[in-house]
């Protein structure tokens, strides 16, 4: 600490500027070295545990595991067989990959637009704002892990019952209490009057039927947008209003460019989140494979293929979006 004091004193004397510069550099470096202590837990964990796990995982995707009597396991090198199994022999894996890609292409715009819209709404001053924010925050806490897996179990059970219903010819009685939000027929009837394209109709119908899951997935994104909206200085809005801009113009000319880095972050987050969530079709399938014979190595290979795909899409999305981002320069 003596050094810090000395530097402060040195600031007064112009002759000592050179000395000060050199010393502060070394102090900075000395402090920088202390930084290693702070990140030590992560560094140790990453090098000793995480990295070996990644390496092992890549290795395991090229082998076949044989349990050895008396404890332990014996890996046998099989080359690319697990990968070729996943891509060529297992028919449902590739179809599920494509399915989840379609799902993603559908989900990203829906979730990002919805969460931006809701964040703008919730950012306005009104009565009961705290209550609405709390309600919108519920899915973030609740709809992960166990509850999600219960939903998956329920829908599986329902699908099974429908299968048996068809075979046995009895009436299905599985209309549940919660799933009757809006009937698809109503939406279709509503839209059939307007002469819009069939594809738009199917998209809207899909959005409406998926509205629950979209709301559920948009929680974190909404919070990120809210934080972003609050960081925009009110002075800008004020000057816009004085100049006579309407709210519509203000949104597109001020809010939208200012929030565009958040749109980027949220799109990336949505991609990662929907790819790794427990209810993703591929993840469900990988989990299912994991339990089967030779499934552990095969599911590892599958998830590496899947991860490569995710990386590819992330890079693609990032490349497309980063061309349009506006960064406010702050000093």
């Amino acid at each position: 600490m003596d050094k810090a004091k000395k530097i402060n004193i040195a600031e007064d004397a112009p002759a000592a500027v050179k000395v000060k510069k050199r010393k502060s550099k070394s102090l900075d470096r000395k402090k920088g070295r202390l930084g290693w202590f702070f990140i030590a837990p992560f560094l140790i964990g990453f090098v000793l545990i995480y990295l070996p796990m990644i390496v092992d995982s890549i290795y395991f995707s090229f082998v076949k595991i044989e349990a050895v009597r008396g404890g332990g396991y014996n890996p046998i090198w099989v080359g690319l067989r697990n990968y070729s199994y996943a891509l060529l022999e297992d028919e449902s894996f590739s179809t599920k990959l494509i399915e989840s890609l379609k799902q993603l292409a559908f989900n990203i715009p829906a979730i990002v637009i919805f969460s931006l819209f809701m964040a703008v709404l919730l950012n306005q001053k009104m009565k009961g704002r705290a209550v609405f924010r709390a309600i919108f925050f519920i899915p973030v806490i609740v709809s992960t892990g166990i509850v999600e897996s219960i939903e998956v179990q329920n829908s599986l059970a329902e699908a099974q019952s429908q299968m048996t219903d068809i075979s046995s010819g009895t009436m299905s009685s599985s209309s549940s209490v919660g799933n009757e939000l809006i009937s698809i027929l109503q939406v279709e009837r509503f839209f059939s009057g307007m002469k819009v394209g069939n594809q738009l109709l199917t998209y809207v119908v899909a959005v409406v039927t998926e509205v629950y899951s979209i709301i559920n997935k948009a929680g974190v994104q909404m919070l990120i947008f809210l934080a972003g909206l609050q960081s925009i200085s009110p002075a800008i809005y004020e000057s816009c209003k004085i100049e006579g801009a309407s709210s519509w113009e203000i949104f597109w000319k001020i809010t939208f460019p200012m929030i565009s880095p958040m749109i980027f972050v949220n799109t990336i987050y949505t991609v990662i989140d929907s790819f790794t969530s427990q209810s993703n079709t591929v993840i469900v399938y990988i989990n299912e494979i994991y339990g089967k014979a030779e499934g552990n190595v095969r599911s590892t290979a599958m998830s590496w293929i899947y991860f490569m795909l995710v990386l590819l899409i992330l890079a693609l999305v990032a490349a497309i979006l980063s061309a349009y981002i506006f960064y406010q320069r702050r000093d």
């Binding site: 930084g35 990453f46 995480y50 395991f60 919108f136 219960i150 209490v177 919660g178 998830s303 995710v310």
Partner: protein
């Protein structure tokens, strides 16, 4: 006096409203304007929309709650929608008695508290390290943090299992044991850490557990917003780097820490992936995922079996969420404040 009134008549925007202005004047100049009408219409539209979406969010929980009180007959009765005709607590009783609810909750509470606390501290420390210190390869190391965030944990599912089943850092012990013939096993290891709190504890301590990358990221962004002058003042007053961190930085960032704690706690609480992976033997340690099953006393075969079992599973979910809701209610204010201040905005 007359002059000002005339002026106002010519241009109503000059008018100043206070408590003395009569109702009719107010009505004429304030409430019956297009501007006010627009505002009211927008407020109504916004309110309806928000209520509608809140309804969509809350309805499933309401229907789950009402379903949990329904008896077996209610599921066959088509007239029953939300309010059960024969309300009963049998489902709750059966889950508590048959599925070992209390032991699961206490085990999960220990595990989640442990993990959340350790993760909170680790992520704060690591985040501070990344935010305020300049050292070599900092960017590369931070890229590693992002890396742990992006990799889907299904990719390392198996190697994670193997790592803690045959726990051995870098395989050093295994190599020694193999070369010297100390062990008869094909893959010797220091110990088997499955079915204990160790795997999650170790991963939490190292900041590589579930979503820890996100927490480190959030803490880093937060600490970046803390002005350097604050720490410099502490240094000038004679505190070291560590003392500054403990005495100034940590107390300052309590809302953020609570947020991280809550996230870590609730995500660990509702987690199925790691619990199913590391706790293979439910006889030994009974955790929350294992109580999601149909209790023995309620197993039946009848027309609405699927719906009934669905309701039972949902009830299990509700009972799992119940302790979480209580914690959430207490921490709600700090939590939302913390999330809004999390400075993900950069």
């Amino acid at each position: 006096m007359d002059k000002t009134e005339n002026k106002i008549k010519k241009d109503p925007s000059l008018m100043v409203f206070d408590k003395k202005t009569s109702f009719w004047v107010l009505l004429r100049y304030k409430y019956l304007t297009l501007y006010f009408l627009k505002k009211v219409l927008w407020a109504i539209f916004r309110f309806v929309l928000l209520v509608g979406i809140s309804y969509v969010i809350i309805l499933p929980y309401i229907s789950k709650i009402s379903g949990s009180f329904m008896s077996r007959e209610d599921f066959v009765d088509t007239t029953v929608k939300l309010i059960p005709k024969y309300p009963t607590l049998d489902t709750y009783k059966a889950i508590i008695n048959d599925n070992g609810y209390w032991s699961a909750v206490s085990n999960a509470a220990t595990l989640s508290l442990l993990c959340a606390f350790v993760q909170m501290l680790t992520c704060a420390i690591v985040g501070y390290g990344f935010a305020k210190f300049n050292f070599k390869n900092k960017k590369l190391l931070f890229l590693c943090v992002i890396f742990t965030m992006v990799i889907p944990h299904q990719s390392i599912q198996m190697s994670m299992f193997m790592k803690f089943r045959y726990f051995d850092i870098w395989g050093i012990y295994g190599f020694i044991a193999k070369t010297f013939g100390l062990s008869s096993q094909a893959t010797p290891a220091i110990s088997n850490l499955l079915n204990s709190y160790w795997p999650l504890g170790i991963m939490s301590f190292c900041g590589i557990a579930f979503k820890n990358g996100l927490y480190i990221f959030i803490m880093r962004q937060y600490y970046k917003g803390v002005p350097d002058e604050l720490e410099e003042a502490a240094y000038v007053d004679g505190a070291g780097v560590f003392k500054t961190f403990v005495k100034i930085i940590i107390p300052m960032s309590i809302p953020m820490l609570v947020t991280i704690f809550m996230f870590a706690f609730s995500w660990q609480w509702t987690d199925t992936f790691y619990t199913n992976l590391f706790f293979t033997d439910t006889e030994k340690i009974n955790l929350l995922p294992s109580i999601v099953k149909i209790p023995k006393s309620l197993q039946t075969e009848y027309a609405a079996k699927i719906t009934y079992e669905k309701a039972i599973r949902n009830t299990c979910g509700l009972m799992i969420l119940f302790p979480l809701v209580i914690v959430y209610l207490f921490a709600q204010r700090t939590l939302i404040e913390g999330v809004e201040r999390s400075g993900i905005t950069g």
